[in-house]
């Protein structure tokens, strides 16, 4: 098939669909966030902040990973990246708001982070780490993360729009020049970010793979969200003729790779801890091995590795829009359990682990999700859904159709 001139305008019906999705998401978000805030008074600030962290971290990660995948596709090229570029940009745009949502946690740090309490600051190990673990520097690091994430998102989105208008190769290469160094800086900063907000919940414990693990699990969620959204968009122009089974196959393979990488990193952390068997390292696993949290970990092993692994092996599942979207949504749901297991067990006593889960752990992810998705669907309505100005655009659109 030769490249025929097709319109890549967003169909008015699709704008309507997106507006409807935005309204539903905004409504859910508002209701569930209000319920979560009510939990602050009904259940208490401690539980509120824990659940806040679960919900916030999940959705902040989707936005951050959108930015990372956006940079990655500028570096690798490929049709998979071009077809999802606008979706990633819409996801990265949510960071403008979500970096601000760190502030409640920073204000309530004593409720979340034991190291910043009086008792914690008197601890010998914490004192030895005080050069890093102190509240002013915690704020300072937040400023660095926020500025970096927003600046990268702003520039990449702005230049990409410029590329669409001018179709200039200079702009395309500028995007690549920014993305190249952006990727390693992102990894370094977000490693620190995951240390600040998750790892220091257990301030004596440490794991060197933690940052990478966090970022990869974000990427998995973001990739699933993008695939699920694509199949929603594929009902109308321009995606109905732009999206081919080959694109979905490629994105499905990336979901598969990220699932495997997630399991690989989780496992290497466990293997090293298991071999070393050191008291300060095993606490993290003791809390997640037995009882209720042990069941939650088992759900992750089967639900976030074994099952998606077997499903995504199949080519026909990856090429079919309906089935791959269902797998993607399923993974996104199980990922909430993953964040829950990352956060909640830290507050249990290692000598006497009790499973604790509040209804706030359910309302907070839905609340933040509604907010996030409302912004995402709103961003998708502005401008074209396809990066028509990219140098390889027409080649990418004919991906898998013919030579």
């Amino acid at each position: 098939m030769t490249t025929t001139e097709q319109s890549y305008e967003t169909a008015p019906a699709l704008i309507g669909t997106l507006r409807k999705a935005q309204n539903i998401a905004a409504f859910c978000g508002l209701v569930f966030l209000l319920i979560t805030v009510a939990g602050y008074f009904l259940i208490g600030p401690e539980q509120f902040f824990r659940s806040y962290l679960v919900g916030f971290w999940y959705w902040f990660g989707v936005g951050a990973a959108s930015l990372l995948i956006l940079m990655t596709q500028y570096m690798t090229g490929g049709a998979w990246g071009l077809i999802i570029r606008r979706l990633l940009e819409a996801g990265a745009k949510t960071l403008y708001l979500f970096v601000l949502l760190f502030i409640p946690m920073l204000l309530g740090h004593e409720r979340l982070y034991w190291w910043s309490t009086k008792e914690g600051l008197a601890d010998k190990v914490i004192q030895a780490k005080s050069l890093y673990l102190n509240v002013p520097f915690l704020w300072g690091r937040w400023v660095i993360y926020a500025v970096f994430l927003c600046l990268m998102a702003y520039l990449l989105i702005k230049w990409s729009a410029e590329e669409d208008r001018t179709k200039s190769v200079a702009v395309s290469s500028r995007l690549e020049t920014l993305s190249g160094p952006g990727i390693p800086i992102f990894f370094i900063l977000m490693t620190f970010c995951s240390v600040d907000y998750l790892m220091t919940l257990e301030p004596h414990w440490y794991s060197t793979v933690y940052g990478f693990l966090t970022i990869i699990s974000w990427c998995l969620t973001a990739m699933c969200l993008v695939v699920a959204t694509l199949t929603l968009l594929a009902k109308d122009a321009p995606m109905d003729h732009a999206l081919t089974p080959k694109h979905l196959h490629d994105l499905g393979k990336l979901m598969f790779a990220l699932t495997m990488l997630w399991a690989y990193l989780q496992f290497s952390q466990l293997l090293i801890t298991w071999s070393g068997n050191l008291p300060e390292e095993v606490v993290w696993y003791i809390k997640r091995w037995n009882g209720g949290y042990g069941w939650a970990s088992l759900i992750l092993l089967i639900g976030l590795f074994a099952l998606p692994f077997l499903l995504l092996l199949s080519q026909s599942i990856k090429k079919n829009a309906r089935t791959i979207a269902m797998v993607a949504i399923y993974i996104m749901v199980v990922r909430v359990v993953d964040v829950f297991v990352m956060v909640e067990p830290n507050f249990a006593k290692v000598t006497d682990v009790h499973f604790s889960m509040s209804w706030l752990d359910i309302t907070a992810p839905i609340g933040f999700g509604g907010l996030w998705l409302a912004m995402f669907f709103r961003n998708l309505q502005s401008g074209s859904l396809l990066a028509t100005g990219a140098p390889d655009f027409h080649k990418a659109m004919n991906h898998g159709k013919s030579h």
Binding site: F267, L271, W274, N277, L313, Q315, G400, K401, S402, H403
Partner: protein, 179 residues
Amino acid sequence: MDAANPLYGLIAEFETPTELVEAARRTKEAGFRKFDAFSPYPIHEMDDAMDLHDNRVSGFTFIGGLLGCIGGFGLATWCSFVALPLNIGGRPLISVPMFIPITFECTILLGGLTAAISMLVMNGFPSPYHPVFNVERFAGASRSKFFLCIESADPKFDRQATENFLVSLNPEEIAEVAP
């Protein structure tokens, strides 16, 4: 094939992969079943064009991988639970996390070997003789030319009609393939 018509088939030569894919599609639509396409490199669209949907290799690979998985874990378990039970730092004798790397490696090894071997066997390898090499120009198939061969064993094959059909595909050359 009868004695009066000692032919393996007719082969048509094309300049580009696009033409070859199109030719294969039309050959399939014309009702031919015993035909093959030859190209210097894999063409993904060929599966659809030739209606090749035999996925047995992936099934074999899955079974191979599964056997490797069970075998690897079984081997590790047998070694440290039956053959030489050894208490290592108070860990259980079946120390599952330590067994995973070997289980994983065995899965990959057996899965990979099964994939490669079953692919070769099901493609009919080793095959020291193939009639298409009797056509001199066929040497181009490993460099820059694309070929489509309709075999005389096809029930629809007719020396003249098939040649006319191949001409309608607009190839560079048409040649007879001696058996």
